[in-house]
């Protein structure tokens, strides 16, 4: 019974919706709403990566590159091409998908470490282009992102973006859960366990891996667009290497292959640095230590480990 509830799709969505609904009630100021909105946005990017890493078993060290493409799409589109910000967001997502397809096609033939290094290279190239093409991107100083105006209503401030990012996360989670429950999702999981066995039972390994890479690229791109629109300003740092690592860490800390885990992992890495600022210079060291402690005591990631605990207790 409990096992069934914990693994049902509706329960996961309800849990996320409840989290999104309850934060504004508890938050003493809009600063907390902003932090929560960042959790939903990075959670969305981590969700995409969980499809790639948690299910298809492929490691990407360049996912912030897609975040950067999505972010600059909503900055450059309206400012330089005169496009509507929302259209730019969609075009950015399409662009991320196309780039992921073009990049993934040759890269995904590589396995293990080679794939990680190739994606690392991709991320670095995106950051480099955004930094050096100053005429279009504003260079290392970054550029303004025009405000979204919807039906004459200028969307600014923390509250509307909190609900937009929360909504986007729910839609993303719904799509991810449906993908994972579909035959394609099962094929991805088979691939994770053994590529040889999956190929043996007729899974088109290369095509499924590529599909997972494209999907995760689009998720990161949309997350990047939302981040840029909420902040109203973007710098090439968004596509930086450290952000790629952060995304991978979110997926692993939260729990590989868990939808809720991706969001919990994002919360871990967005909220903790805020909580640890009291430690001043020791902040980074303690953050690293906490990550180690969590990985040692909850090796499968926070969410899967806790779920196992609950099920064991109930049994």
């Amino acid at each position: 019974m409990l096992r069934k509830i914990l693994s049902s799709r509706i329960a996961v969505l309800l849990l996320l919706a409840a989290m999104i609904a309850i934060v504004p009630v508890l938050a003493p100021s809009s600063f907390y709403l902003r932090v929560a909105a960042l959790v939903w946005i990075f959670g969305l990017a981590a969700l995409g990566l969980t499809i790639l890493t948690g299910y298809a078993g492929q490691v990407s060290l360049g996912h912030a590159g897609f975040l950067g493409i999505g972010a600059y799409a909503v900055a450059v589109g309206p400012a330089k091409l005169g496009l509507d910000p929302l259209l730019s967001l969609l075009l950015g997502a399409v662009l991320c998908g196309l780039v992921a397809y073009a990049v993934g096609k040759p890269i995904l033939r590589l396995k293990g470490y080679y794939l990680a290094i190739a994606t690392l290279g991709f991320g670095l190239i995106v950051a480099l282009v955004l930094t050096s093409e100053g005429a279009i991107t504003g260079g290392p100083d970054g550029m303004q992102v025009p405000r979204v105006v919807l039906f004459g209503w200028r969307i600014a401030g923390v509250v509307p973006w909190y609900w937009i990012s929360g909504g986007a996360l729910l839609i993303g989670a719904l799509l991810a859960l449906n993908i994972l429950a579909s035959p394609s999702g099962r094929a991805l999981r088979a691939l994770h366990d053994s590529e040889v066995a999956a190929a043996g039972v007729g899974v088109d390994v290369a095509a499924k891996k590529l599909a997972a890479f494209v999907i995760s690229g689009v998720y990161a791109g949309v997350a990047g667009s939302l981040l840029a629109l909420m902040n109203g300003f973007i710098t090439p740092e968004a596509a930086g290497f450290m952000h790629s690592i952060e995304l991978v860490a979110m997926v692993i800390i939260g729990g590989l292959g868990s939808v809720v885990g991706a969001v919990v992992g994002a919360a871990f890495l967005v909220v903790l640095p805020q909580a640890l600022t009291v430690l001043q210079e020791y902040e980074q060291a303690v953050l690293g230590l906490l990550i180690m402690v969590f990985m040692i005591v909850l090796p499968a990631g926070i969410v899967p480990s806790l779920r196992r605990l609950v099920l064991e207790r109930a049994a």
Partner: protein
């Protein structure tokens, strides 16, 4: 067995979580007598830490010293300091936190142009004064009601150079600029103000940041008739190569370099060719060479001494920006006799003749930087050392 291990894991996780939550709730050491809270978001770590670290040390030192003297308006000052690691997104989150959660009355910070631009809307919306420590002129042009900055801009350096040229009767010049970020930006600023001084650029050459030989460009300048002086906006090793090629070609015209190479390493790189080169530099660089009558001398020497004894590191102009930022703010709060953000803002805008480490600040409703060309000192390199050329 499995179960006890699992239970232990759960307990460990619970302990870690509760420790985190408790530390999050007790924010900072609480000072007696209702402190005045001043916020600061700096890039003390990350790629911009060479700027942010001296800024952070300076602010901490200054506030410590201020509290020993009894604070402002009889109240202690609490500096709420956050490190954005050079990340504009983090900077913006911390800016929101300073306003919403810490309820600061003003902010001194923003190490890079990127982090500053990301934070500006937060402070403008909340109507909290924000004194930025970043370089770009876009921060104060157009003027925003609550945003100020302390570092001088490339434009001021250009004006200083052109002033000096005009005084020497040099009105027709050749330009040779680096295509790096600094060189490009400074060239653009110089071209904007060059007309104000009745000076014209007869040739306008450029070189790449990694070029190892600028002889062709310099030859073109040499062969252009009527050129009376040459200006080289650039950063890094490019200007040193220009200076050496300049001497090799035997060009006798006065050569001007920018504040971008105002460091000892430039003299070392360019060698004897640097003799006679002129460049504008901030007072901190030549603290001990300033004339005793210079109003900046006591301020600069004082800051240099206290920073160097406290940290054991040589003083930098970047720390000086932080020093000026917090001083402008403290003086504004004292003049306003209030910690109301609107009144502090008005007082900062009313700053007149404030002597800082970077220069003399006089703010107006149309100028939120307030530095004139006197914030730079024209230096000439003689005998491998700087010699100030200021009129006595």
């Amino acid at each position: 067995m499995q179960q006890t291990a699992a239970r232990r894991a759960l307990r460990a996780a619970a302990v870690v979580t509760s420790v985190t939550i408790t530390s999050a709730l007790t924010i900072g050491p609480s000072l007696a007598a209702d402190p005045i809270k001043i916020g600061s978001v700096l890039s003390a770590t990350g790629p911009a830490s060479f700027l942010g670290d001296p800024e952070q040390k300076t602010l901490k030192l200054f506030v410590e010293a201020l509290n020993k003297k009894g604070g402002i308006l009889g109240r202690p000052v609490e500096l709420v300091l956050y490190d954005d690691g050079g990340d504009a997104n983090k900077a913006r989150t911390f800016a929101t936190r300073l306003i919403e959660d810490d309820k600061v009355v003003a902010m001194v910070g923003g190490t890079t142009t990127g982090t500053t631009m990301a934070m500006i809307p937060v402070f403008e919306d909340a109507k909290i004064p924000f004194i930025s420590l970043a370089g770009a002129i876009e921060i104060v042009e157009p003027v925003r009601a609550f945003v100020f900055k302390t570092p001088h801009t490339d434009k001021t350096a250009c004006q200083k150079i052109f002033e000096d040229m005009k005084a020497r009767g040099l009105t027709k010049i050749g330009m040779i600029s680096g295509t790096d970020g600094f060189g490009k930006s400074m060239r653009a600023q110089c071209m904007k103000v060059i007309g104000d001084y009745g000076i014209t650029a007869l040739v306008d050459e450029s070189y790449g940041p990694t070029d190892a030989d600028m002889t062709p460009q310099l030859n073109k300048i040499k062969n252009t008739a009527d050129v009376q002086a040459v200006l080289n906006p650039g950063f890094g090793q490019g200007p040193a190569i220009v200076t050496r090629n300049y001497a090799q070609l035997g060009i006798k015209l006065p050569l001007y370099q920018s504040h971008g190479v105002a460091s000892k390493s430039f003299i070392e790189l360019a060698g004897p060719a640097a003799e006679g080169v002129r460049l504008p530099a901030p007072a901190l660089l030549i603290a001990d060479k300033l004339a005793d009558t210079d109003p900046q001398k006591p301020v600069v020497m004082d800051y240099k001494k206290s920073y160097e004894t406290a940290t054991g590191q040589p003083v930098s102009t970047f720390g000086g920006y932080g020093f000026d930022g917090i001083q402008l703010l403290v003086s504004a709060i004292e003049r306003a006799k209030s910690v109301e953000p609107q009144k502090i803002r008005d007082a900062i805008e009313g700053t007149k003749g404030h002597v800082g480490a970077t220069g003399l600040y006089t703010m107006t409703p149309t100028d939120h930087l307030g530095l004139g060309t006197e914030s730079f000192h024209m230096l000439e390199i003689k005998g491998g050392d700087w010699v100030p050329q200021d009129k006595k």
